[in-house]
Every structure is written in C-alpha cells, then in structure tokens.
Symmetry: C2
Subunit: 429 residues, 2 copies
C-alpha cells in the first residue's frame, strides 16, 4: 500500500483518477444466452438456472406469507429496532424529495405544469451471496413506495434450501412489499425485463449485483428497459486536513476497502504527516478485521495523495468524482462548496460513510466509476416520470400562436403551422 | 389509412401499442468504425467524415464570432421576435424546475440535504439536414444554462459551403452559447464523447438525430458517456370525444405525420362518427401540405381506435405511453387525471402539439417508443446531478450510531461498524 503521490501534476491526474477497466462486452457471451433462454422459456428456464447457480430446487418462486412470517420471527428485536430507525430517517429524507405541482402561466392564457407520477412496475434486485443486503432493500423500497409505484417486485436469491435471509423478509414486510421472488443472478434480471409465468415484467430495474448482473442490466437496458444507473465497484475518497482524526479516516478507508478487492480508496491530504498517521492506523485496525484479506487487496489499488493547495485538492477530487466523499475537517461546511462532482458527501469528523450506508437518511445507491460527473444517486426522482401538461385558452393560443406559426414555417413544418392557423382562424371569423 | 379498430379487446393491445421494431445492432457495423476512427485520429478523422457525408471541406470546425454576427444579421426580425417569445416562455417554465436546498434533520444532530449542481461539460447535438432545428437548440440550451452547466458545446452540420443555418446561429447567440462546431452525424457524437484537438469531450450528450446518430449515442453511452434518453420516431396520440373539433384533431395528427414516414399517429375516439369526421378533415387538409408524401406514408402506420368506455380508452393510452398526448375534449382537465404514462399532455381544443413543440414553455425533447413508462422528458433535472450531503454532530452520531453498528454487523461488514464504534468510544471515554 505504498501508492503515495506528493503534489502530483495535472499530467498525472488522468492516471490517478482512473478506475480499473472492466470489459462487460466479454461477459455478453455468458449473459446473453441466459437472457434469451428466460425470454423464451420463462419460469422453466429461471428454475433451471436457479438449480445450476444457487443449487436450489424450487417449485414456487414467490415467497409465501407464511415464509415471511416465519422469517420475521427469527430476526432479533434489537436489529428490528435499528432497521426501523433507519427506515424512519430514510423515509423523512426521501419524502422531502417529493415535488408539488406548480402551475406556471408562461404567457397570458398559457398554463404549463409538471406532475410526478410513479413508474407503475419496478423491480428491485437484492443480492444474496456473502451478505444479505437488507439495507439496499430499504434504500430502494422506501423511495419506490413514496413515489407511488403501484407494483413493486423484489428478486433475491435463496440459499440451497430455498430459503431467503430472514432480515430481508422482515425488511420487505416492514415496507409492505409482498411480491418477493426467490431468484438472483442474470435469470432474475431477465425475468424482470421480459416477465415469466410467475414474475411480472417491469419498466425499470434497480439494484446492485455482481458483474453478470451488471452486464445483464446493461443488455436489457439496450432493449428499452430502464435501469437505475450504470454500475462499477464501490469507491470512497477522503479529503483530510490537520483537523482530521487519523484513526477515523483509517476506519472509513477500511470500511470501503472491505467491500471487495476491487473497491477504490483514495485519500487526499494536505500534508504527508496526515498520510503517515492514517497509514499507521490502518495497519493497526486491519489486524482485527474479519474481511482483512479483502481489505488488503483493495488497499493495493488505493491512492494516497498529498495536495498542499486546497483548491488543487478539490479540483482533483472533482476530476475523480467519487461515489462517496468524506471531508474530514472542522472546516467541512465551507469546503463542501467546492464539491462539483460526487455521489454523496460526508461533512466533518463525525459523519462516517457507514452512517449514510445505513441509517442517516440519504440513499446509498450512488454513481461509481466517475459517473458522478453526470449521474445522481437513487432518489424519489428515480421512481417517477415527470409528465408535463399544458392548457391554452383561446386567448392563450392567440397570444403565442403567431410565434409558433413563424417558427414552424422557418423549420419547414407547414402542418405544424396549420394546427395553429386553423384554430386562430376559427376564433377570428 | 384504414387502420380502424372498434373496441379492440385487450388481447389486441399488444399489437396496437407496438412501435416499428428497429434494429440498431445492425447499424453498429457502420457506426463503430467511425467512433473508433475519431477516438484515435481526432479532428483529422472528423474532417474526413465531414467531407464524405456533408461534402464540406473545413479547416476550422469552431464557428467564428464573425460568422455568428453575419448569420444573425440575416434572420428576419419577426422570426427573431417569435424566438424571443418562445425563449421567455421556455425559460419561465424551466426556471420553475430549479430546486432549493432543504436541509432535513432526520434524527437529532443528523442533517441531510441535496444540492443540484450543473453537469460541467454538456454537448448539444442539433441536426441539420432537411430542417434547421433551432427550436431544439432552445429546448436544450435553455435548461443547460439554468442548470449552470459551465461548458456547453453545440455540434451541428454545415452545408456544403461550410455554413451553418443563420437561425441556429442567432438562437445560439441569444442563449449566450459560443462554442458551436460545424460537425454532424456520428462523427459529432464521437467528437463529443472522446474529445478531439478542437472539440472538448463532454459528460453528457443531448439531442435528436437520424438512426446513425441514435446508434452512436447508444454506443458511447455503453462506454459511460451519459445521454438524454433512448430515441425512437416521434409520436402523437389523441383522445377525442364528442366535444372535440374534428378539423383541429386532423390538423394535429397531420402535424405529427409530416415529421417522417416512421412517425406514429394514434387516434382514440369515443365514437366511430368522430373518426369519420377526422378522416374527412385529414383528406381535405392533406391536399395543401408541402410534406404530403411523408404524411401519407406515416398515416399508413396510423391507428384509429374507437373505445366507447372512457376508462378503457385511458387504460389503452397508458399502455401505449405516447410521447405526445392531446386530450381533445372540453372535459380535458378531469380526464388528465387518468394519465399515468405520457411524455407531454395537451389539454383541450386550443392546445395543439405545435404549441409545446415551439413556444408554450414545456420541453419538446420527450420519451418515445413507450419509454414514457419509465422516462421523463428533458428538463433542468437532465442537466444537473443532485448530490446528497450529510453532517452529523457528535450527538447525532451517538443517536444513530448503535443502529448503524447493528445493521453493519448483520450484513457482515465489521469495518463499517468499526468506523462508528471508534468514534463513539472516543466520545465516551
């Protein structure tokens, strides 16, 4: 982990902001046949892949109310309370994203407005595997409900015994989501994109997944199914100055590093002293981590950068466009004004990334891989369409009609002009 | 044009809502080599394709201030005034889409908020060819400026003499956009995606185009460049009841039909009488249209549907999910509540689609091909990222920290827990 760079010049930034290239095209040969098979053969194909990949033999894909009840009973009461607190905070923050209708009179008699309408059919993919990501179910299910999506389905893989993790079942139940299907992987993406006998097709698919799931989402997206955002490995950048607490910074970097060997970790500090102290803390804290090997692997790809000049530091961080950005400084409020590109920003020494990952209220589904330059994280916006409406009175049409006629004519679209002319003539007989 | 359907059963809806399938994959063989060539050879490749496709020989791609001045002088004063009126209305409506920052205290000491920040580098593609779409420049340039995008570039093809349509130059000047490049087609998309010596790379590409441009946008999107939305042929659905004015409905359908032979036109009426009257009006109005042949070709693919039951009619229209939906009825206000899927909705007999295409204030860049089920039209939202921020006080972390610890542990992420534990321990020595 000796990727130390002192005041790197701009000619080095391209390299320093680079993410590991991943060739999804290479996965198409594996993913495409599964998509096609499910498209053609529905549940039968889905069950075949469940047997093949999850080693489970399932007759019925839909989780039964009894299974939800049984699972819920297994969850520790303290954990339930924690999830409820998280739910309340996430709900409060996401409810504040709802938009009222504002009718705007743009010209006299011309009324325009926008209305947010929930996407009717949405699919939430919740990975199983090494960790049961019930937090992701909170992050997707809560805005989906606030948006008013009428049909919310969840796909998540079962274990070999055909059981879904109880905490996921509890969380679904807490959110009032009852359509939970025991299917993961590419077969889940295919089922949600095309629909099967038991799994309804959706218009938009949300949720993280491994490289096959990501490739599957990209492929169905090309066919017109919307997806939340393009995905890449998770990332954290920390800006730290003399007012940071190195042990905290180290803990934050490690929390990102434990996600996966491909996790991206970047520390930008104003002095090399800070970096030395953080590194010492990393070595110390690393010892007791269960996912130590993963964290070490990720740290090999990490970057420790000294930027003595604050503005240059933030120029670099904006160029990097991190999924998560922690500003470890007593001066975080002021510094945060310099942020142009980031998914989510954590201010000060007591705002660890894990707060936002679980319970502060912000969403943890965020743009990675530099996509924060053009993409936002998941919000209520992600679950609605904003439909525009307009209503012109006769006078309204008289007011703007002549302009429309001139512009349509100048674009060579005579029938566009006629649609106005005919109406105006009928009003001025 | 005798595609008449009387109260079609739901088993027919799939067919009736179907758009012409278009195989973009087949275009990849043509488009991909151009993308790669521009990526590798920059301006040199761009100029080669300009010579090949636009038959222009250009030394400099950037439009000069003198050219803008000369072009602006050529535009008729009345047309300038019309464009100014349109600009004012579009600006008023889009300014209303700006969102203030609301700081939400989700738990005591836990403050979360969202801030909209303009995407720094955006590219607007404005087609040339048969019609100079200066209206599209208004629809993309105005929200880009409101969003605060710092670098806005426009690519639009020149004619064989290397000249850009004067009205496009005037509109750009009106919006304060000075980086206009004389390049169209796939080479323009490639230049904006990868950057060349003279054209800067952007993070998001907006704008309509022919099938090659659309395929080019999809291909660079796969590589991580954001695009406004997937594209398809333009569409109009009209709902008409006894209170409609058939001549107006006919004019609206024709205004859509003249766009292109692949334009989609659907009329859903409550009686077959209305359809007969509208068809008679279409025959009458068609005679005098300069783009008559195009309109006739589009009308061959059109659908005239009688739905006697209002709710069934809107169920069908929601299933169709039209780019433009006109509710030609005195009862439009009430009926508009039934709209779940549409790009933009026009209420009553005096709100023709062409009003929204040019000057009412709403955006005309809208989801086609049924994408309105999951996608919104272009708005200020399209030009910003909404970055989330959070700041926890020491007390805030104490309040939610224990929940974060429990949840992180349940997901098997010990380092996530540690980032909280370490901080809480430091506060409770």
């Amino acid at each position: 982990m000796d990727n130390l760079f002192i005041n790197p010049g701009k000619e080095q930034w391209n390299l320093l902001t680079k993410r590991p290239a991943f060739n999804y095209a290479a996965l198409e040969d594996i993913v495409m046949p599964i998509l096609l098979d499910v498209k053609e053969n529905g549940d039968q194909a889905v069950k075949k892949y469940i047997t093949k990949f999850d080693h489970a033999s399932l007759d019925i894909l839909l989780v039964s109310p009894q299974e939800v009840e049984d699972g819920t009973a297994l969850v520790d009461e303290k954990l339930k309370a924690a999830i409820q607190l998280a739910k309340n905070n996430i709900q409060l923050f996401h409810e504040s994203q709802q938009q009222d209708i504002h009718k705007i009179t743009t010209s006299p008699g011309v009324l325009c407005w926008r209305k947010s309408v929930g996407i009717q059919n949405v699919g939430l993919y919740i990975p199983g595997g090494s960790a049961p990501l019930f937090s992701t179910l909170l992050m997707l299910g809560i805005p989906a409900r606030i948006a008013g999506c009428s049909n919310i389905i969840v796909c998540t893989p079962s274990n070999a015994e055909g059981k879904i993790n109880p905490v996921i079942l509890y969380t679904a139940q807490l959110l009032g989501i009852t359509n939970i299907f025991k299917v993961g992987g590419v077969q889940a993406i295919a089922a949600m994109a095309y629909g099967t006998q038991s799994i309804p097709a959706v218009s938009k698919i949300f949720g993280p997944g491994n490289q096959y799931v990501t490739a599957g989402k990209q492929l169905v997206n090309r066919e017109g199914v919307a997806i939340d955002m393009p995905a890449g490995p998770s990332e954290l950048a920390v800006y730290a100055d003399d007012t940071c607490i190195p042990a905290f910074v180290a803990a934050d970097l490690l929390s990102q590093a434990e996600h996966g060997a491909d996790s991206q970790v970047v520390l930008v500090a104003t002095t090399s002293n800070i970096i030395d102290e953080v590194k010492a803390q990393i070595r110390l804290q690393l010892q007791s981590l269960p996912r130590k090997d993963t964290a070490i692997a990720a740290l090999i790809n990490s970057r420790f950068i000294v930027m003595e000049d604050i503005d240059t530091a933030f120029d670099f961080l904006n160029e990097y466009a991190a999924e998560h950005l922690i500003i470890a400084s007593d001066n975080a409020q002021l510094l945060s004004d310099k942020v142009i590109n980031a998914g989510s920003v954590f201010l000060g020494n007591y705002s660890p990334e894990s707060a936002g990952d679980y319970a502060s209220g912000t969403n943890h589904t965020l743009p990675t891989n530099g996509y924060a330059k053009a993409y936002s994280g998941v919000s209520v916006d992600s679950f609605v369409k904003k439909i525009t409406f307009q209503e012109l009175s006769e006078q309204g049409l008289k007011n703007i009609g002549p302009s429309v006629e001139l512009m349509a004519e100048a674009e060579g679209l005579q029938a566009h002009k006629n649609a106005v002319t005919l109406r105006i003539n009928s009003l001025n007989p």
